[in-house]
């Protein structure tokens, strides 16, 4: 199934910085993932620009997770092409992993480690040098205003703070792209708003944000969104254009209109 990419590795380091006006962080072309007779991801194609906040929407079971797994270098597509940060999903999974950050809806820090120890650990796993970890973590702690809590166990933090910290940890190694899988599940609206402020700040610093969510108000915060239905990308545009296209003024209606046709049930 794997394709033969000769000499690809030689050029890979430059892959991310091909000269051009609008650089692409993610390029998908006819990406397909087949499990037996089931097509989890069915021939999807889309581009994500560098520094963009890209909303990846879809009902449960639409194939979002499968697509995201491929883009994160965790599984191989059955056919089609895709590059992430300029690296090929077939041949350069390890390079992809070095250049992305990831945060999931499940809380992903260690409860019985302190804030600093968590940061140190993830920094260490991504190969950030010890001196650099020191500088960046003290910066991070002071930006978040958590100086007092730095040596406390993470279990003592409220959930909202944990999620913000988890996001900061996900971009601690300064990835080119950060994948957020329903990052704000179970978080109150105020914290969610603050969370999105952080996402905007990261995007302003040049990090591409690839985010899945079920909250339609969050979809509005994205530069562009795609909606997946039954493994296919059914719509892809800015929130404003989508609303215009579907003649409504709420993203909820757009989503409902699209997802209503879905044949696949949950999972």
């Amino acid at each position: 199934m794997k394709k033969n990419y000769s000499n690809e590795d030689l050029h890979s380091e430059q892959g991310a910085t091909i000269s051009g006006q609008q650089q692409k962080a993610i390029v998908c072309n006819g990406l397909t993932k087949q499990f037996g007779s089931f097509r989890a991801v069915d021939n999807i194609s889309f581009d994500v620009n560098e520094g963009e906040i890209f909303g990846f929407l879809g009902a449960n079971g639409a194939g979002k997770t499968t697509a995201m797994r491929i883009l994160c270098g965790l599984s191989y597509p059955t056919s089609g092409e895709a590059t992430v940060a300029g690296f090929d999903v077939y041949k350069q999974q390890e390079r992809i992993k070095k250049n992305i950050g990831y945060m999931s809806q499940k809380f992903s820090l260690y409860d019985n480690l302190t804030l600093l120890e968590n940061i140190e650990f993830y920094g260490g796993v991504y190969g950030v040098s010890r001196s650099e970890i020191k500088i960046r973590s003290s910066d991070l702690i002071s930006t978040l205003g958590l100086q007092k809590e730095a040596h406390k166990l993470v279990s003592e933090l409220p959930l909202g703070w944990k999620q913000k910290l988890a996001f900061s940890v996900a971009i601690f190694h300064r990835p080119k792209i950060v994948f957020l899988d329903e990052p704000t599940g179970g978080v109150d609206p105020v914290t969610r708003r603050q969370f999105w402020d952080m996402i905007y700040e990261a995007a302003a610093n040049g990090i591409t944000v690839f985010v899945t969510t079920h909250y339609m108000d969050e979809a509005e915060y994205c530069n562009r969104i795609s909606v997946m239905v039954d493994g296919r990308v059914e719509a892809l545009d800015t929130p404003a254009n989508l609303k215009k296209q579907y003649k409504t003024n709420s993203m909820n209606d757009v989503f409902y209109e699209l997802a209503r046709g879905a044949k696949r049930a949950d999972n």
């Binding site: 270098g73 990831y102 999931s104 260690y110 796993v125």
Partner: protein, 367 residues
């Protein structure tokens, strides 16, 4: 390498911050050694014994006198018949009985020898064995006294009736058993739980998305528990030597090498279990039922294998701790060298390799 060290450091934080883990790690071996060493000592004293003396001659009186003279037996009222013996066994008043036939004295001079029946309550097989051994040696002693020059054909043949347990359990055999058990708990159960906890928490996905290699995740999980197992091993050895006065006869280097081999086997099992399940509870259950119970029952350190049904005897061949137990028993307690345990070692090597390969192959890189 630096990444691996960061990971291992984190694992140690987990261990030292979890009171339950600490208790299992350091409380368990100490408690077990003390329990097995003192409370469950197989030396028996003050055994209730009744005599059914149908002969009532000089010989039987002397033998009874010898039995009562030591501190092992308390001779109770003589019994009148078998029914009475049985009743007193049931009531728990006596744990063993000696029956002399009517013509004991005259039988002594006959070619077939005199027969004594020795009955022991084998519902506790280990005690029964010990009791029988005591009685055997007392009778043997008396026989020698009667026949100092070994010329006359006096002979007393004790007929022993035991329901099971013909193996003579030395009191120190439990130490290798406890060591095997502790390794199972630390290397198999705790390791599998440590891996599965990451799955449950969702941190495993983060690790898999990171450039950290999946195999390194397993190594980083295994190394701390390997170290901790060895620490436990040293604690047990120190306790055995200084508290129980066990003499370690064989080579320490060999004992350590074999132990590391067994720890690796246990770790592989732990990793394999963690691949098969997604919840800490299931992992714990599989470790307990699938690994620790067989270690307790099928290695032969608590219950003799020889007297089990054939099925269990065959089953015991696939229990790795059986081989480790026999290696450590041979090397530590009997002082035997590698040439005596190479077969068991080879089997363990094969098992460890097989399990490790399976564990690595099964390790699925899934979210």
């Amino acid at each position: 390498m630096k990444q691996l060290l960061a990971f291992i450091k984190k694992e140690f934080y987990h261990v030292f911050r979890d009171r339950r883990t600490l208790l299992i790690l350091f409380g368990m071996p100490i408690v077990q050694i003390i329990l097995f060493g003192f409370a469950l000592s197989s030396e028996v004293k003050n055994i209730g014994i009744a005599v059914l003396d149908n002969a009532r001659d000089v010989h039987t009186q002397q033998i009874i006198g010898k039995i009562s003279s030591g501190y092992y037996f308390r001779v109770k009222q003589p019994a009148l018949n078998f029914q009475e013996l049985e009743q007193r066994f049931r009531a728990g008043e006596i744990e063993c009985a000696v029956v002399f036939p009517e013509k004991f004295a005259s039988d002594l001079y006959k070619p077939g020898g005199a027969h004594i029946q020795v009955i022991a309550d084998a519902s506790d097989p280990n005690t029964a064995t010990t009791v029988i051994n005591y009685l055997n040696s007392i009778i043997g002693n008396y026989e020698q006294e009667l026949n100092p020059l070994r010329k006359l054909s006096y002979r007393i043949v004790p007929e022993i009736r035991m329901l099971y347990n013909e193996e003579q359990n030395g009191s120190l055999n439990f130490i290798p058993g406890v060591i095997a058990l502790i390794f199972m708990i630390v290397s198999t159960a705790l390791t599998s739980v440590a891996v599965v906890r990451e799955k449950e928490l969702g941190t495993m996905e983060i690790l898999l998305v990171s450039p950290f290699r999946p195999i390194m995740v397993l190594i980083a999980k295994a190394v701390p528990y390997l170290v901790l197992s060895l620490v436990d091993f040293i604690i047990i050895l120190l306790l055995a030597v200084f508290l129980l006065n066990v003499e370690i006869r064989g080579s320490l280097v060999l004992i350590f090498a074999e132990s590391i081999l067994f720890i690796i086997t246990c770790l592989s099992m732990g990793l394999l279990i963690s691949n098969l399940t997604g919840s800490q509870q299931t992992a714990m259950m599989i470790s307990m039922m699938g690994m620790m119970l067989p270690t307790l029952i099928l290695t032969g350190f608590m219950f003799p294998l020889e007297n089990m049904p054939k099925v269990f005897q065959i089953l015991s061949y696939i229990v790795p701790s059986k081989y480790y137990y026999s290696i450590i028993k041979s090397v530590m307690l009997k002082g035997l060298g590698f040439s005596y345990v190479w077969k068991e070692t080879l089997i363990l090597v094969i098992m460890a390799t097989g399990l490790l390969t399976l564990a690595l192959r099964k390790f699925n890189v899934r979210l």
